[in-house]
């Protein structure tokens, strides 16, 4: 009954929007009318080759399309393309690619004769013609959008040497802070912040969409690897070699597409498809060696005290770290004919991490097919099956983390086995002997994941495009852990745990777009809907008291089990009207009407409107004559205003309800109220964003500058509002927080040299974001000292500081020990002592093409003006295990100095600005050799990633973060695994 009501509702909603739109016609057409089949007789075939006008080199990946039809393809490695079944008549063929000025040719097909149309493209720094996908059934040119969208091509992702797609985005995009949280194998957990932090407790990671389907990017740690260990986020299951390109939508543009999920921005990933032509086989292989560039400096003072007895000291880092490797192989087969294309690939990546006994294996197969069923109907089916197997080593901040054990153990204590037996942990309890952990514990994780989609594109007549996508993303993850008997004092009989997570996302979306030319104007009207159903279960089993040779849960005498189920449903409808005036002025208005099961029934349906304008001024005829032209070769002005929302995290999916949870009295099971009171008025976090900017071309577009200012106001942010505990509750989720993000993004691209023998291009990005919290229930501190209070940026560092003399020097007591703020009642005990949010982030990419064979690429990226909390050094101080403890032992620091400064967090908040030499690569094309061998292409590449870090930070790596993807707790380093430095050699052969 309820379902029928929902259907009726859905239909009435659709009609509601459709009424406002002329697209009602289109919708009815879709649902009932019979489309006419286009006349395929007398069709012709167009072939051609796309080359670079300057070097003559073939240009791959060029979109060659016939506007107004569904026809189009991409050029291959040799620059060639074929478009079949071109109806008789006059057509315009357009060739577009990022980094090149678009070109077009008029042709006439008659009598089925084949036609050749070659293109010579000119490299430019400013490409307004690149197409992006924005929620309409047909792709849109970037020039028509009022907001900035950045595309990253597959070749850039390939050359990054990153094992994950999100990691490959580091340094690529203005306005995106991409952080690798640890140096664990298989990605190490990546955090992405688009235009700053947009939430306080609901997560700030963007929404990931692969081929139009929302995918899971969970990063929960399901077993105890020493509390926080940041091993992976689930985007690591995607093979970067299969990516055709990525579009990053930072701003309000995402609103129409993803409404109540768009607050954090959207990253759309498009996978590779085949193209017409004979079968092409490409084999790519990469081998990288990786190691940690830094080691902790420990207390290796050779005496037990100043003038004391000699003592042997140990540094276990050689036993913990190793030189690891990454082996990556990818084989693809693609091709097609005039009606069908196929892309089949298989990938295998093994990442032997820099920690002993840790590794990540990923094997995946992908199949992407397109079939032109009729001239008006195309079916696209794609699927990817991935299996990953990881071996993790506890490396979190607490107790059994291997690096933690080094921090907490006096360097005089030996962990080396005696007669085969490992000595117990120095601190006993839940602490462990790290060498025992490496040798005898296991923590495997297995993921089986299938993601796929089926898409139907229907063009019943020239100006109407309808598409429907059904998508699925499901995986099963099993994380196990085995701790042998006798290894932990706290669990002397050993333990075993197995946690299974099943995640399933089902995604339905449809959109119809009608294009109506009317003189100098063109209207493009779209209506669409989207329904997503997400289901997550977690089942855990664990046991203690294992029989001596047993390793599985079933070996234990005392088992425990648990289960959790979360279900979310989101339904949205949207309509968009885009006006194009003479291909230079574009106005777009859209509205999305969205509902989610996570909100209270009365607050469920929310409206998210959007408006944007783009004006390509340089296309005006007067522009060339005007004085402006002396300065700008191209000029586009743009602006956008949009609203978007954010849903509660999965953990709070049921926060609207009052719930009663299990309570056991003796052996009898009952229920009691949960401590979080339900909030029936729960609604989405909401964002208003406007942005404006300009895309400027200088010197015949050899230099371009894209500049954007944005202003985001986030309201109704979900917070845990404490309740008086005499209510029997602790808290309630309430929409009470607010904050702002304001910033600028600049991307400068130049073609410095362009001759047949050398092309040198540069891209520099700069982005600065200012976050300010504007409303809260009360200030609060999370993590260690990350603080949220009104008027300050989210998560700033707040804690005790040094008492200082008038000249700024540290005040000391009579023994020379530093005095902390808390000891002087005349000053506040705690204050702001740092900020993990950078003042600005930037990147610098230089690419060189020497002749036709040799190319090179160098990428730097960095963050500036941010601090990190070096908890690693604090524990080295606390336990006397660091180099400073050696100084104290040697009498170079007063006795008790380290203990006195321990409560002073100011000491451990350090400048964490850094510049990393993120990528270096040198590629040589062996195409000539390949051709002699009957191959079509062969290349060899030497490359490196994270080769060097320039920083004042005293810990191992200023980039990592203990709290992983957490929203507020940024910039914490506690025994974190540094990001490896890697050197790689790779080759790619195409047959």
């Amino acid at each position: 009954m309820r379902m029928f009501a929902a259907i009726g509702f859905a239909f009435s909603s659709l009609s509601f929007l459709a009424m406002m739109h002329r697209s009602l016609f289109a919708l009815c057409f879709l649902l009932g009318a019979m489309p006419a089949l286009a006349d395929a007789q007398q069709a012709g075939r167009i072939t051609g080759r796309v080359t670079d006008v300057s070097s003559g080199a073939p240009v791959a990946g060029v979109q060659v399309t016939i506007p107004g039809t569904q026809l189009g393809t991409q050029s291959g490695q040799d620059g060639s393309y074929t478009i079949a079944n071109v109806p008789a008549g006059a057509h315009t063929i357009v060739a577009k690619r990022l980094g090149y000025a678009p070109a077009q040719q008029d042709i006439t097909v008659s009598g089925g004769a084949p036609i050749t149309a070659d293109f010579k493209l000119k490299a430019v720094a400013l490409t307004l013609s690149a197409t992006v996908v924005t929620g309409t059934a047909a792709p849109t040119e970037k020039r028509a959008l009022g907001n900035s969208i950045t595309s990253v091509g597959g070749s850039e992702i390939e050359s990054s040497n990153s094992t994950t797609a999100d990691g490959a985005l580091q340094g690529m995009i203005a306005g995106a802070q991409v952080t690798q949280n640890s140096g664990n194998p298989g990605g190490g957990g990546i955090s992405v912040r688009l235009r700053g932090t947009s939430s306080l407790i609901s997560g700030s990671e963007p929404l990931y969409v692969i081929d139009g389907v929302i995918v899971d990017n969970n990063s929960d740690q399901l077993i105890n690897l020493g509390a926080r260990s940041n091993v992976q986020n689930r985007l690591a299951d995607l093979d970067p070699d299969d990516i055709d390109h990525i579009e990053v939508i930072r701003g309000a543009a995402a609103a129409a597409l993803y409404g109540s999920r768009a607050n954090n921005g959207v990253i759309q990933i498009f996978t590779k498809h085949g193209r017409e032509g004979p079968p092409r086989v490409t084999l790519s292989s990469r081998y990288a060696s990786q190691s940690t560039p830094e080691r902790l400096k420990l207390n290796l003072y050779p005496f037990d005290s100043l003038g004391g007895s000699p003592v042997k000291r140990y540094d276990y880092q050689d036993e913990i770290f190793r030189t690891g490797y990454v082996a990556d192989n990818h084989l693809s087969l693609s091709g097609g004919d005039d009606r069908s294309t196929y892309y089949i690939s298989g990938g295998w990546t093994r990442d032997n991490g820099i920690l002993q006994a840790s590794s990540a294996d990923r094997k995946d197969v992908r199949l992407n097919l397109t079939q032109q069923l009729y001239s008006t109907l195309r079916l696209t089916v794609g699927g990817d099956f991935t299996r990953t197997h990881d071996e993790f080593l506890p490396n979190g901040e607490q107790t059994n983390g291997v690096l933690t054990a080094v921090l907490f153990t006096p360097t005089t204590y030996s962990y080396f086995p005696v007669g085969g037996a490992y000595p117990p942990a120095y601190l006993g309890g839940a602490f462990s002997n790290p060498l025992d952990v490496i040798a005898n514990w296991t923590a495997p994780q297995d993921v089986s994941r299938f993601s796929g989609s089926a898409r139907v594109d229907f063009n019943p007549f020239q100006h109407l495009a309808v598409s429907y996508t059904l998508g699925y993303d499901g995986y099963q993850l099993e994380a196990d852990q085995y701790i042998p008997r006798g290894s932990l004092a706290a669990q002397p009989t050993g333990s075993s745990a197995a946690v299974l997570r099943n995640s399933r996302i089902l995604d339905n979306s449809g959109v119809a777009t009608l294009t109506t030319p009317a003189g100098a104007m063109t209207f493009q009207s779209s209506v669409g809907f989207n329904y997503t159903d997400q289901h997550l279960t977690a089942t855990s089993a664990s046991s203690q008291d294992l029989f001596p040779t047993g390793t599985l849960v079933s070996a234990g005498a005392t088992p425990f089990a648990g289960q959790g189920v979360t279900e979310l449903a989101t339904l949205g409808f949207y309509g968009q009207e885009a006006l194009n005036w003479r291909d230079r002025l574009y106005l777009t208005g859209a509205v999305r009407w969205d509902a989610s099961s996570t909100f209270g029934a009365d607050q469920r349906w929310q409206l998210y409107p959007k408006l944007s304008a783009s004006y390509v001024m340089s296309d005006e005829s007067w522009f060339a004559e005007s004085g402006i032209h002396n300065m700008f070769s191209s000029l586009r002005l743009r602006g956008a205003l949009g609203y978007a929302g954010n849903q509660p995290s999965l953990a709070n999916a049921y926060a609207q309800y009052n719930s009663y949870a299990r309570a056991v009295s003796g052996t009898r099971v009952g229920v009691v109220n949960t401590l979080v009171l339900g909030n029936p008025n729960l609604k989405p976090e909401r964002q208003r964003e406007y942005e404006f900017g300009a895309d400027m071309g200088f010197a015949k577009d050899r230099v371009s500058l894209e500049a954007t200012y944005y202003n985001k106001k986030l309201t109704d942010l979900l917070l845990v509002a404490p309740l008086p505990t005499s209510s029997g509750f602790l808290s309630q989720y309430q929409n009470v927080g607010a904050m702002t993000n304001k910033g600028v993004e600049l991307t400068l691209q130049t073609i410095n040299v362009e001759t047949p023998t050398l092309r040198w291009t540069t891209r520099a990005t700069y982005s600065a974001n200012r976050n300010k919290v504007t409303a809260l229930v009360a200030p609060f501190t999370v993590g260690y000292i990350n603080r949220v209070s009104v008027g300050e940026p989210v998560g700033y560092f707040y804690g005790q500081y040094y008492q200082r003399n008038a000249d700024g020097s540290i005040k000391t007591d009579s023994l020379g020990l530093p005095l902390r703020s808390g000891l002087d009642p005349s000053i506040p005990a705690s204050k702001k002592i740092g900020d993990p949010n950078p003042d600005w982030i930037g990147s610098l990419l230089n690419e060189f093409q020497f002749g036709r064979k040799l190319s090179a690429r160098v990428l730097f990226d960095g963050t500036f003006g941010n601090q990190a909390l070096d908890l690693t050094r604090r524990i080295l101080d606390a336990d006397g295990t660091g180099a400073d403890a050696a100084l104290q032992l040697a009498g170079k620091l007063p006795k008790g100095y380290l203990a006195a400064r321990l409560p002073i967090f100011e000491e451990y908040v350090e400048d964490a600005s850094f510049v990393k030499l993120r990528e270096v690569s040198l590629s040589y094309s062996l195409n000539d050799v390949a051709k002699r061998m009957g191959l079509s292409a062969w290349s060899l590449t030497l490359s490196g990633r994270n080769l060097h870090t320039w920083t004042k930070y005293r810990g191992l790596d200023p980039e990592i973060n203990l709290f992983g993807q957490n929203t507020v707790e940024r910039g914490n380093d506690f025994a974190g695994i540094p990001i490896p430095r890697s050197f790689a050699i790779s080759t790619s052969i195409t047959y």
């Binding site: 009729y374 449903a569 009663y660 229920v671 404490p722």
Partner: protein, 439 residues
Amino acid sequence: MRIRTLIVPLAGVAVLASCSLDLTNPNTASQQSTLTTHDGIIALAVGLQARYGETLDNFAYPGGFITDEMGARTGALLSYRDAENGVLFNTYDAVETSWQAHYRAIKTANDLIDNASSVALTYSTLSGIMSMAFLVKAMAYGQLVQQYQDAGVNLTTIGQPGTFVDRATAMDTVLALLDSALARYQGVVPGSEFRTKVLAPGFDLLNTIYAMQARYHRLTNDWTGALAAAQQVNLGVVSQVPFSAVEINPIYNRSELAGYIYPRDTLRLEAEAGDQRVGFHIGGDTVPGNVRPLRHFAQYQSADAPIAVYYPAEIRLIMAEAAANANDLSTARDLINAVRTECGSALHEPQPCLPALTDTDLPTQAAVIAQIYHERQISLFATGLRWEDARRLNSVGGPGAIAKRCWLIYPQSESSINPNTPADPEPSEPSTTPESCGV
């Protein structure tokens, strides 16, 4: 033709996919199913006893710290180490967890009192549940007023911060709730459904009601009421809250599992030689890591060890105290000796196996009362009751006093939000000795 056969179903799938947005939470029971159904109320009444079980530890350990019964190991949280010296901050566990645990029990009792009558339950089940709810609510308030100076009797509801009443008014409320519990029990004797599905094995509802009447009448110095109730208690049974491997004994959890809090060896030093109650309460090796020696709880050595709601000795000593106050020293001595000479009983209770005291041992009313407090100290060790005894003896603060301060302060989780929260008693650390705690 074929094209339509494809498109129409596909478009259908698009909209027809089950679009329900009203998803219930499968992980927990809903408020509706808990408060308006027979099974929900039964489950909630079981949950009430679980919450009461949590209060016992929270009643025992803050008072245990303040009165030197318990100590914190050096490695324990600073909040514990401060509390054992009488130093409290409003975020400390010793202040927060007790407040919260007791009000959670009261919240669940209220859920039952407000809703059980509207649900289809047999009379004999309803009476048991209502009686239990009134009893637990009374015991929770009674324990609160032995820790915090004023109690918030009007429970906070949303947008309606709770108000506080003074101790005398709170005590009246406790006694009225106990009367309700007894009236419900006597109105319809709880039947088999209540006994087999709700009542925790080992928990004796009726005797506990009488025992609590005796305990709280004593605290209001109503000796007639205390004696009348005590005489109703069947001293041949004990009433216990059971625990299990799933619902771990909270004292065992805080002590043996967490390794934070242990009983002080002081008990052994202060008891008479040969007093076998010492071995009932403490034992095992000395726990290192405190200035003064710590031992282990002898009776809380496993996850499923039960906790007594009261010991029969408490009832005998209440009767003795009533007699002593009426200057009936002979009856009082007999009752004291009944406690002292208990030996070899089958009940799980502390048994001194000590010789009886003579009239010359206890010649005066003052000596008898002092002996009663001594027997209470040893018999009722680590139950949380000693703090109130210290207040009654005006032995608070200063050298040699039993307790280091009069009251806990109010926790931040209440005081920072509820504007009705009274000012903290003894706002600075207990550096000055109060003349009296005013009980």
